[in-house]
């Protein structure tokens, strides 16, 4: 009776007391029948054992000095000392554009803030060396300020459409900015780009070039002009027929023989070759994903677009692609996550990315036998980015699906 009296009221009705609801929930979700109950118990035991084992490894048996000592090697690898200043402006630009984009399109909830704080703290620990902390702080402050400013003053204002265009232009300019900063003056040879920086650069370029390439190939394959259709189809089928590692080896040993000796093309930079292969490979897969999206569009959409007088280019750009791409976001992101992990394969070109850098630490006499720590760290780094991409795509999907039936 007392429980009844104190139970919270919703819409004038007395809610069941929490103890009843908890029992109800446990019954519905965990112990519905004997079989479910058994499954619940076994799963719970496995889960607890797993967490305990992991905790013991992380806090007791593991010796993280291998990571602490090699922070630099893992993040930027053989990147020359004294040239780090080149990396900060692009990172700041990235954080600024990131803050702007999130402010415009992906407002953060409580969980979003928690994740952002976690990532920031982790990166901070990783970078803590010399005045890196201060420089990183500048970037974080910039991102926070831009995000907050965008939320407060831009969203909903008359300037919003223009700021959106600016954000997209900013994203497009990021990559050239990175290259410019790295090459400016007496720049850093690309063969020295390594570690996590290399993975990130390769994946970004792979996506930035591979995605538009894939869209064009998909449109080409759907074209009514036979020559374009055959070319696109031929490209897609040939590229997909070979394993990525094989293409990377080809780029290393065979490609120079096929390039004309114009403007130094036949001595094309090894990192540039990796970028080309990753973008070209991803493009072929993206093309097939996008083709699926194109086919999912009802014919009536094309007919309606024609009937109101839109030309082929306008129909593609305004009607077909927005719908086709939206329909395939999950598959596209899957492809990008795949590419992200495939950046480890550039070992075939003799490049040292994060996994390679991790292996290199193991040859240091102090850290022989520390495979577990190194692999755990590398895995965490790859997981964090892949998971981030996956969550981000969910948000984008939800934002875009407004009104879609």
């Amino acid at each position: 009776m007392a429980a009844q009296a104190s139970a919270p009221r919703v819409d004038g009705r007395v809610r069941r007391p929490w103890s009843v609801r908890a029992r109800r929930w446990a019954h519905d979700n965990l112990f519905g029948d004997a079989w479910n109950a058994a499954l619940t118990v076994v799963t719970a035991l496995l889960l607890v054992a797993g967490v305990l084992l992991l905790a013991r490894f992380v806090f007791r048996t593991a010796d993280w000095t291998v990571i602490e000592t090699n922070r630099r090697l893992l993040t930027i690898g053989r990147y020359p000392a004294g040239e780090e200043w080149r990396l900060w402006p692009p990172l700041w630009a990235l954080l600024g554009v990131g803050g702007l984009s999130f402010g415009l399109w992906i407002p953060l909830g409580v969980r979003g803030y928690a994740v952002a704080a976690g990532v920031t703290a982790f990166l901070y620990l990783l970078l803590l060396e010399g005045n890196n902390a201060a420089l990183f702080g500048v970037g974080v402050a910039l991102a926070v300020a831009v995000y907050a400013g965008t939320r407060a003053w831009v969203v909903g204002s008359r300037a919003e459409p223009r700021v959106r265009v600016a954000a997209i232009v900013g994203m497009a300019l990021l990559l050239p900015l990175v290259v410019l900063m790295l090459q400016l003056g007496d720049g850093v040879r690309t063969s020295l780009w390594s570690g996590f920086l290399l993975n990130v650069t390769l994946a970004t370029v792979g996506i930035a070039l591979g995605f538009p390439l894939g869209v064009m190939l998909a449109l080409g394959r759907a074209s009514s002009y036979p020559v374009i259709r055959w070319t696109a189809t031929g490209y897609i089928e040939v590229v997909r027929a070979g394993p990525l590692v094989a293409w990377l080896f080809m780029a290393r040993f065979v490609l120079p023989d096929f390039l004309p000796p114009v403007a130094g093309l036949d001595e094309l930079d090894i990192v540039a070759r990796a970028m080309l292969v990753l973008a070209g490979f991803t493009g072929a897969y993206v093309a097939e994903v996008v083709r699926g999206g194109l086919q999912s569009l009802p014919r009536g959409q094309f007919e309606a677009a024609q009937a109101v007088g839109l030309n082929a280019l306008q129909t593609t750009w305004l009607i077909v692609l927005p719908q086709a791409l939206r329909a395939v976001i999950p598959a596209l992101v899957s492809q990008f996550i795949s590419l992200w992990k495939d950046t480890t394969l550039v070992f075939a070109l003799g490049l040292i990315e994060l996994l390679g850098a991790g292996e290199a630490t193991l040859s240091q006499t102090d850290f022989i036998g520390r495979e577990k720590e190194v692999l755990a760290f590398v895995a965490l780094a790859f997981w964090a980015i892949a998971f981030g991409m996956s969550r981000l795509s969910l948000r984008v999907e939800r934002t875009l699906s407004v009104g879609a039936s």
């Binding site: 009802p298 007919e303 309606a304 009937a307 109101v308 007088g309 719908q323 009104g403 039936s405």
Partner: protein
């Protein structure tokens, strides 16, 4: 019945012909391609044929439509009526014969095609709204992109059109959030936004629940009264009786019978017409 129709009745005797008569009469002084005189038909078709593989969908359609005329097209499914109106804005290319819309010959000349598409609006059975765009954007898009009307102006005009079809309050919603009847009215507004001289309706109410048919027919009726030239494929005989100046009955890719509403309801000549009418009435 209607002032407009009365005015037209004085222009000449109501056309009551069968297909045989139409074929016998020389195609009414077919004008060459070029500027249309006001008295010339706005749509002119001569022996239009269309094949899908070995299937002949249109087996020689010869007819014409005057400005401000409302023509209702009847016929069993597969009779070619839908194919016919789709050839009029070249969603289907005709294989033989000629089609002249407002003095412009429909052929492979892309400039002609652009000109015709902007004069001919079309409303589909399945609405075919753009689901990723708001109702307002659906209506404002084409004038903005095709006619280069500034965005603000195009959207203001779109709001007026939504007002005209009776759903101004739905402007910011997306098509998926509207009922079928509302979607079809948006589709009509979208077609009207290009300020067409001719409107084609391909079974506009066939995909609608019964209680929504009326709201769409009301809009179409208002449009007919405003003097729009309309070709309407429909089985709504009440609507046909009310607004049609002329009916065409299609079967097996031909116009089997042609005449006024009165003619069709009281005195159909052809057996197939009688059979069809007995089935749908």
């Amino acid at each position: 019945m209607r002032a407009r129709q009365d005015a037209r009745a004085s222009e000449g005797p109501a056309v009551v012909t069968t297909a045989a008569d139409a074929a016998a009469a020389p195609a009414e002084a077919a004008p060459a391609s070029g500027p249309r005189r006001p008295e010339d038909p706005i749509i002119l078709c001569e022996s239009v044929e269309k094949w899908f593989g070995d299937f002949q969908a249109l087996a020689g359609i010869t007819t014409s439509v005057r400005e401000r005329e409302v023509v209702v097209i009847l016929g069993p499914s597969g009779s070619g009526k839908s194919t016919f109106i789709r050839t009029l804005n070249r969603l289907e290319e005709h294989d033989a014969g000629r089609i002249v819309i407002d003095g412009i010959e429909l052929n492979d000349d892309l400039r002609n095609l652009d000109a015709i598409r902007s004069e001919v609006g079309m409303v589909f059975q399945q609405f075919n709204l753009f689901p990723h765009l708001s109702v307002l954007r659906n209506v404002a898009l084409a004038p903005q992109k095709v006619r280069r009307v500034p965005r603000a102006e195009a959207e203001e005009r779109a709001r007026e059109l939504l007002e005209r079809v009776g759903i101004p309050e739905q402007a910011e919603k997306f098509p998926g959030q509207l009922s079928g009847g509302q979607q079809q009215r948006v589709a009509i507004a979208r077609a009207l936004a290009m300020q067409p001289k001719i409107m084609l309706f391909d079974e506009p109410t066939s995909a609608l629940d019964p209680e929504m048919i009326k709201e769409v027919l009301d809009v179409m009726r208002e449009l007919a009264l405003s003097g729009m030239t309309m070709l309407v494929i429909t089985h709504e005989m009440g609507f046909a009786r009310e607004v049609a100046d002329r009916l065409l009955f299609f079967d097996e890719g031909r116009i089997v019978e042609e005449g006024t509403v009165e003619h069709f309801f009281t005195n159909p000549q052809e057996e197939r017409t009688k059979l069809f009418l007995s089935q749908i009435l």
